[in-house]
């Protein structure tokens, strides 16, 4: 097990190295430099600024410097935003995004599993149809549309929650719901399908034949077997949460990574764009790894190859 994880971490490092390299050179191809932020500067002033960002070095030197910095957790200095180090910006912006993301994932998955379970238990009843319709709407309607509806009714019209910005817990409610709808709908559909399949399986018949009660059938025998496959869609779900944060944070003006990324694109702040891209890559790869490891723990049938276990 440990060896498997180590091997995966090693591959992760290689993937990240490739991504960082590609990102770096792509960014060098692009127009735009810290100079574009300021207006007319004398040549000597320009040189000072370029030297400050290390942009007067030849590109290979810049590349080595960047990579060395990267290993030390230094992502360079933003062209904008008061020349703050990118690492600092990202650290400042992390908490709101993490709070929203985690809340949405936890709330969405649990609610989705519940919906899916209810639908499976009352198969072909009105509860099943209602929850299926909710699931289809939730997976189909883009999150920004949901965000708009929530903002319009719950904030602007009925003033239950704040319209936007960040501060109290109430501020997190609407963006969390908007983010949670997709994972919820995905989990609901998946749980329903899997649960129905499990309920029709032979071992459930065996369990019934030994007199296990209905709740026992559902929770002791059905739930674990129908939730294992759900782990496989957790990856895409987490990725959708990342794309979700970009639009949701923009709509609700949440000072998170996503909002930062969108505004960095608008002002062509390359160091920040690169830093955010790398952060997304790390998150993505780590999530996939965590999910793979999680899978081993919840499914006794899978034993990882690679020794050690």
């Amino acid at each position: 097990m440990l060896r498997y994880i180590l091997r995966r971490v090693f591959y992760m490092a290689i993937t990240l190295f490739i991504i960082a390299t590609i990102t770096f050179f792509l960014m060098k191809l692009l127009p735009g430099s810290p100079l574009s932020a300021e207006n007319k500067l004398s040549e000597s002033q320009q040189e000072v600024i370029l030297a400050k960002y290390g942009l007067d070095d030849p590109i290979p030197v810049q590349y080595v410097n960047y990579m060395v910095g990267l290993v030390q957790g230094d992502l360079g200095i933003s062209f904008h935003f008061d020349n703050t180090p990118v690492t600092q910006i990202l650290l400042n912006r992390m908490p709101p995004s993490l709070i929203l993301g985690m809340q949405a994932l936890i709330f969405g998955t649990i609610a989705g599993i519940l919906f899916g379970l209810i639908a499976a238990i009352y198969h072909n009843g009105w509860l099943d149809y209602t929850s299926t319709i909710i699931a289809v709407l939730g997976t189909s309607i883009p999150s920004f549309v949901f965000a708009g509806i929530l903002q319009w009714y719950l904030a602007t019209k009925w003033e239950v929650f704040p319209v936007a910005l960040w501060g109290t817990y109430a501020h997190t409610v609407l963006p969390t719901i908007a983010l949670a709808i997709f994972p919820m709908a995905t989990a609901a559909r998946f749980t329903r399908t899997e649960m129905l399949e499990v309920l029709g399986s032979d071992y459930i018949m065996t369990a019934r034949a030994k007199g296990v009660t209905e709740p026992g059938i559902i929770f002791k025998h059905g739930l674990r077997n129908s939730l294992i496959p759900l782990v496989t869609v957790m990856g895409p779900m987490a990725v959708s949460l990342m794309t979700g944060t970009l639009v949701i944070e923009k709509i609700f003006a949440v000072p998170g990574i996503g909002e930062q990324f969108v505004s960095s694109i608008e002002v062509l702040d390359y160091p920040t764009i690169m830093g955010t891209t790398l952060l997304f890559s790390v998150l993505f790869i780590v999530i996939i790894l965590v999910i793979d490891i999680l899978y081993v723990f919840i499914d006794p049938r899978i034993r990882l190859t690679g020794g050690g276990s």
């Binding site: 289809v136 883009p142 920004f144 794309t243 997304f280 993505f284």
Partner: protein, 385 residues
């Protein structure tokens, strides 16, 4: 053990050997149908899927001819007619639809007068064209009074004879025209991206799965590396360095998008080619090409079609998402995502601007997902009745 005592004796003359006219023991009582006929039958029994298909056909036709229903151009800017709300002949007389060319909103103030003032200020100070209805008198405390103000812009601008069916945007461009042009762009992106994913994915996955061995090994290693790179990151980078437009979005979506299809097709080909029927065909000396065309393709067609049907809404979503965060289609070009983005900026005052594109994109997404679900059921032999 109870024997069923026969009430009336059976007639004696019937106790003779039965003459069989034809061999009925092998009679098949059900009509025989091929798999695809069964699939089609199951699909067309699925009401929501059929409804979605009809809806999509209407939307596609409108996205082709809709923009020519009136004389407004996609980039026909005219600030004098900016932000006109929807107004449709006939329906304008039915207040329920809200397409009578007026804007209505509630305004608050410490008392009725202040609330009214707020309303008038919001609506271009055109007091004579604003109808005020008092909702709450207020008690003098902050924001306790509320009025509902209805602003008749078409009259204020002396454009009673103009009809903008879905209103105009901030620059006076006709929304009806832009929405259908936008839908056209979104659909083109989705279909082209899905088609490219299909071609590359099926070819790559098919070759990898069918030939196996060393070719499969090499192709799989490449695929693994590609899959390891988050596609979101690839899309972002490409969108930043490329000029915004349809081609860049399609490129960004397909450059990693086909990997999913390739994986599915490879897995399915691997499974199918080890089936006995393929072995039988091979034993009979059929060529590779014929085995692929006659045996493998029909058996993996279902999964390919289903996967493609889910690629399309995914591409529509991604286009909208990119345009929404400013990385996709940029004005004056229109796409559904760009329109929603533009509408969002003013949606508290002019909700119609975001409402119609948002509804359209949602309808398209729901329709494609339902069609996809319908196809998945149709290709599932368990669902055939």
């Amino acid at each position: 053990m109870a024997t069923n005592q026969q009430k009336h004796e059976p007639p004696k003359e019937l106790f003779v050997p039965h003459e069989r006219k034809e061999d009925t023991s092998e009679k098949i009582t059900k009509p025989s149908r091929s798999f695809f006929q069964d699939a089609r039958r199951t699909f067309f029994k699925n009401k929501s899927a059929v409804l979605s298909i009809i809806l999509m056909i209407i939307i596609i036709i409108l996205s082709i001819i809709g923009p020519y229903f009136n004389d407004y151009k996609m980039d026909g800017q005219d600030l004098s007619r900016a932000k006109m709300p929807p107004k449709v002949p006939v329906i304008e007389n039915l207040p329920f639809f809200g397409m009578d060319g007026t804007l209505t909103s509630e305004f608050k103030g410490d008392d009725v007068e202040e609330a009214t003032q707020n309303a008038v200020m919001r609506y271009d100070n055109n007091e004579e064209f604003i109808d005020i209805k008092v909702l709450s008198e207020g008690d003098g405390s902050a924001d306790s009074a509320e009025v509902s103000a209805t602003y008749n812009i078409y009259e204020a601008k002396e454009m009673q004879d103009e009809y903008f069916w879905l209103g105009t945007d901030q620059l006076g461009r006709d929304q009806w025209t832009r929405i259908w042009l936008g839908a056209r762009v979104s659909l083109i992106i989705a279909f082209v991206a899905a088609a490219i994913d299909l071609l590359i994915g099926v070819a790559y996955g098919g070759i990898s799965g069918y030939y196996g061995g060393r070719i499969d090994d090499i192709l799989q290693r490449i695929l693994e590396i590609l899959i390891g790179i988050p596609n979101l990151v690839v899309i972002f980078l490409l969108m930043i360095i490329l000029q915004p437009g349809i081609t860049s979005i399609v490129l960004a979506l397909t450059i990693t998008g086909w990997t999913g299809m390739a994986r599915i097709v490879r897995g399915e080909v691997l499974k199918q080619k080890n089936e006995e029927y393929v072995l039988a065909a091979r034993t009979l000396g059929q060529s590779n090409g014929k085995i692929i065309r006659k045996h493998l393709m029909p058996n993996i067609a279902g999964i390919i079609i289903i996967n493609t049907m889910f690629t399309i809404p995914n591409a529509i979503f991604f286009e909208a998402f990119l345009s929404f965060i400013g990385l996709g289609i940029v004005p004056p070009e229109a796409s559904l995502g760009a329109l929603v983005d533009a509408g969002f900026k003013v949606f508290r005052l002019y909700p119609y601007m975001v409402f119609y594109p948002a509804v359209l994109i949602s309808v398209i997404m729901i329709a494609f997902n339902l069609i996809g679900d319908g196809l998945r059921d149709a290709f599932d032999p368990k669902m055939h009745k």
